[in-house]
Amino acid sequence: MREVVAVAENPVMLYSIGKDSSVMLRLAEKAFAPAPPPFPFLHVDTTWKFQDMYAFRAQMASEHGLNLLVHVNEDGLARGINPFDSGSVVHTDVMKTEGLKQALDKYGFDAAFGGARRDEEKSRAKERIFSFRTVQHRWDPKNQRPELWRLYNARHRRGESLRVFPLSNWTELDVWLYIHREEIPIVPLYFAAERPVVDRDGTWIMVDDDRMQSRLEPGEEPELKRVRFRTLGCYPLSGAIESDADTLPKIIQEMLLARTSERQGRMIDHDESASMEKKKVEGYF
């Protein structure tokens, strides 16, 4: 992070409100203390996040005095893009991917920190820590640089940008353990609690606001279940798991004994078998 701040003209930290963002925020505070993190935080909002997430975002911004920028793809909104009718792929593509590009262009950011990790998916295993994007935000596989020792080459031409992944070498367990050790606040949705959910195609979807309420299908009756979320995104696309884990050690315990990976809860991966590679080329992260 220090490296990026030293060499980039206009860096930004992507803030998605999830646990990885919480860790990144803490790391940023550590990297620049006693100064506050010398860059703004950007949330690309799809308008479909959990209410708890919006509340948490507001709380973090005020407690940490963040320069928080929220960007919504207004064009997508106007076109009526939403996760129910448009499908998860189009929704994510327009509201998240397009939205991110719009925001980066609007503010002229030349470096964006992201929370992606190499252990998340096997094709990510070789992603660089400093990942280069063309003027069109595309990831050109041939244009990536070898990373030796601790020497990063962040030089880029005007218009080109880089995504930087400080958590590249962390595992999911590392993230949880760090949250535990550092007592980092995270959105309550990660902890088990009684929540209204419906079973949709074998996945527990939370009825988070009345937009969902009004879209309940015949026979769908919200029921209160003790659930929690392993990953957070747009609520209609995030599956809950039944759980009693209401403390960090219990979450970690559950995670260590779990037999399914974090990504299972992400609907986006179920929807289309296209590789992460393809999404990356398009600028998904």
Partner: protein, 632 residues
């Protein structure tokens, strides 16, 4: 993983996990040696896989696997295959697993042509290497190559996994034969710490589980080896203190801190430090972190230092222990590994990133390149992709550094192309060049050979001496016209012209004549440095002065031509009217009239100007030059 403890007492487990050390290792092997199978098995057996991943693995194994009904662990690692299709050329994949004692990051590099640059990249952050070989094939050229590269990158812990032992009937004899082969090679390299482990990645023998089929082997399994090998990070804490300054932290007028990751040693408040390359000393006031000040900062920690004195420190500087400062230099000998399609060229300027400094770096001579397979040194003028060479580098400004051998973080560098911004090379600083070598180096960056090479010619001097009016200028003009027509780059220094400019402060006294001669010689010398053919038409009456001129040049590059016309004939011809003026006292000290001219005793060529005309004389000079090979 200890799932028992996780279930029984998660807090105890978390506490134990906190104390786990991290080991980063690289795996190297040729295609089909079993690398993917080995890493897949490590991931599988250390239970890093979730059910959905195992289910996917089972399905894939049935569909495209090579192991029939068995699991094909290699399929866990498909990331690189996809990459290859896309034509990515630099690829190192990082994988993660952990045991009860350690966390591991594996740098996995595919075994194809791009191997050198991938391996070097992977090895640069590794503590240890696992080199695979196929027991049926034994120690191959590739094995040597892999061993050399990890050795070059400073890895001193090497496990040689002799894989596919199941295919050689778990033969003890075969294993010892391979061990002997490897030992011989390791000795040649100076490799001391290595461990050969007979195993079968496919069957999981001597990987995690001890093999029952090889009771004769009592060394560690691969996993036991990895669990116990010493971690580099701890070693660096004993090195001299080094902090490359990454970022200057100035949140308010009363705080000025220097942020960076400690690259060596330890630091405490009150200790004396020196800021390099400036060499200004100060005392550490605080070792600041977000979690409070530290009493002791150690290698590997990212900290912020404040100093007692207000001195100028910026990114790129190094803060070092005052009693063990890092050397500072502007010229280095370094080993360079070239990573770009465009070759590394001598004389080309790149950007060098070393520590946190970014400086222009020009590659002076390439001393030699290394034939990695045989360790042979070969003369070279460029380095191509994946080649390794020892070069001299000259920087635009001095930097503080350590030898790579002593500190990877302050002795390793990358080279960046100034136009594309790509990382095109990696290097290891070996030593600073002493001053005597520096001077030579400065000449050599773009030297006379380089300049002359550009003009496709050899620089030399034709020094035409003789009495005034002998025909020196005319011959020089005729000669230059011929050379010019032949595409040579020339320059003509005429005594008369020099007298009007450079030497117009000089008289015709003996002392001033000598000075005039000296100036002409030096100018001629500079011109040959520029790669030019220099024609000097100069009376230069004294033998000693002409010898002085000759001494400036290399043997064979100073051609003395005596344009011989006796004074009486010259006066008679008097082409320039000087003799007439001298006769009336208009010119004082006209050589040959009222001052002496010493005939050359052994000129390279004597032109009897009573016998030949100017054109013929020029032809004869030209003939001599060809004869001497100066025009080839």
């Amino acid at each position: 993983m200890n799932s028992d403890l996780i279930e029984r007492d998660i807090d105890a487990y978390l506490e134990a996990h906190e104390r786990k050390s991290l080991l980063r290792f690289i795996t190297c092997g040729s295609v089909d040696d079993g690398k993917s199978t080995l890493i897949g098995r490590l991931l599988y057996e250390s239970q890093m896989l979730f059910e959905d991943q195992v289910a996917a693995l089972e399905a894939d194994s049935k569909r495209v696997g090579t192991q029939g009904e068995e699991l094909d662990f290699a399929l866990l690692l498909d990331g690189l295959a996809a990459e290859r299709e896309q034509g990515i050329t630099i690829d190192v994949a990082y994988r993660f697993f952990s045991t009860d004692t350690r966390k591991y990051i594996v740098a996995d590099t595919p075994g194809h042509e791009q191997y050198t640059r991938n391996m070097v990249t992977g090895a640069s952050t590794a503590d240890c290497a696992v080199i695979l070989l196929d027991a049926r094939k034994g120690v191959l050229t590739q094995t040597r190559r892999h061993s050399y590269l990890v050795w070059l990158l400073g890895l001193r812990h090497i496990a040689v996994a002799v894989n596919k032992m199941d295919l050689v009937d778990y033969s003890e004899e075969r294993f010892h034969e391979i061990e002997r082969q490897y030992r011989a090679f390791a000795e040649q390299l100076g490799l001391e710490e290595f461990t050969l482990i007979p195993c079968s990645a496919l069957r999981g023998e001597n990987v995690l589980e001890r093999s029952e089929a090889m009771p004769w082997y009592d060394g560690p399994t691969l996993m036991e080896y990895l669990e116990t090998v010493e971690v580099d990070q701890e070693r660096m804490q004993d090195a001299p203190f080094r902090l490359p300054v990454q970022w200057v932290n100035r949140p308010s007028p009363d705080f000025r801190g220097y942020a960076g990751t400690i690259a060596g040693g330890q630091i405490a408040p009150g200790e004396r430090v020196v800021v390099l390359p400036a060499g200004i000393e100060s005392t550490v006031a605080r070792v600041v972190t977000f979690d409070g000040d530290l009493e002791l900062g150690v290698a590997g920690q990212a900290v912020t230092l404040t100093l007692e004195d207000e001195i100028d420190v910026s990114r790129g500087d190094m803060i070092a222990a005052a009693d063990a400062p890092a050397p500072v230099s502007q010229q280095f000998e370094a080993t360079v590994i070239w990573m770009a399609e465009e070759p590394l060229l001598r004389g080309r300027t790149y950007l060098m990133r070393v520590g946190t400094a970014m400086v222009p770096a020009t590659v002076a001579p390439i001393r030699y390149k290394l034939e990695v397979d045989t360790l042979e040194q070969i003369a070279a003028t460029q380095l191509d992709l994946n080649e390794i060479g020892v070069v001299h580098v000259e920087l635009g400004q001095p930097v503080a550094f350590d030898r790579y051998l002593d500190n990877r973080d302050t002795g390793g560098f990358i080279l960046i192309d100034r136009i594309t911004n790509h990382t095109v090379g990696a290097g290891l600083l070996m030593r600073a060049l002493p001053r005597s070598e520096n001077v030579r180096l400065q000449e050599l960056v773009v030297d006379r050979d380089a300049r002359a090479g550009l003009k496709a010619q050899r620089p030399f001097v034709v020094w035409l001496t003789g009495r005034p009016g002998a025909g020196k200028s005319s011959i020089a003009n005729a000669l230059e016209a011929r050379l010019f027509a032949a595409g040579r780059h020339t320059v003509l220094l005429d005594g008369a012209n020099l007298r009007r400019g450079l030497s117009k402060d000089l008289s015709f006294s003996d002392a001033d004549r000598a000075e005039n001669n000296r100036r002409a010689s030096e100018v001629a010398h500079l011109m040959t440095e520029a790669g030019l053919i220099v024609l000097v038409a100069f009376v230069s009456p004294f033998r000693a002065d002409r010898e002085t001129a000759r001494s400036l040049f290399d043997e064979g590059e100073f051609i003395e031509v005596f344009v011989d016309l006796p004074a009486e004939v010259a006066a008679e011809r008097d082409t320039t009217g000087l003799y007439a003026k001298a006769g009336t006292g208009g010119v004082i000290n006209l050589t040959g009239v009222d001052s002496t001219y010493e005939d050359p005793e052994e000129p390279d060529l004597r032109l009897d100007m009573t016998a030949v005309d100017v054109e013929a004389a020029a032809d004869r000079v030209l003939a001599l030059l060809s004869e001497r090979g100066l025009l080839s």
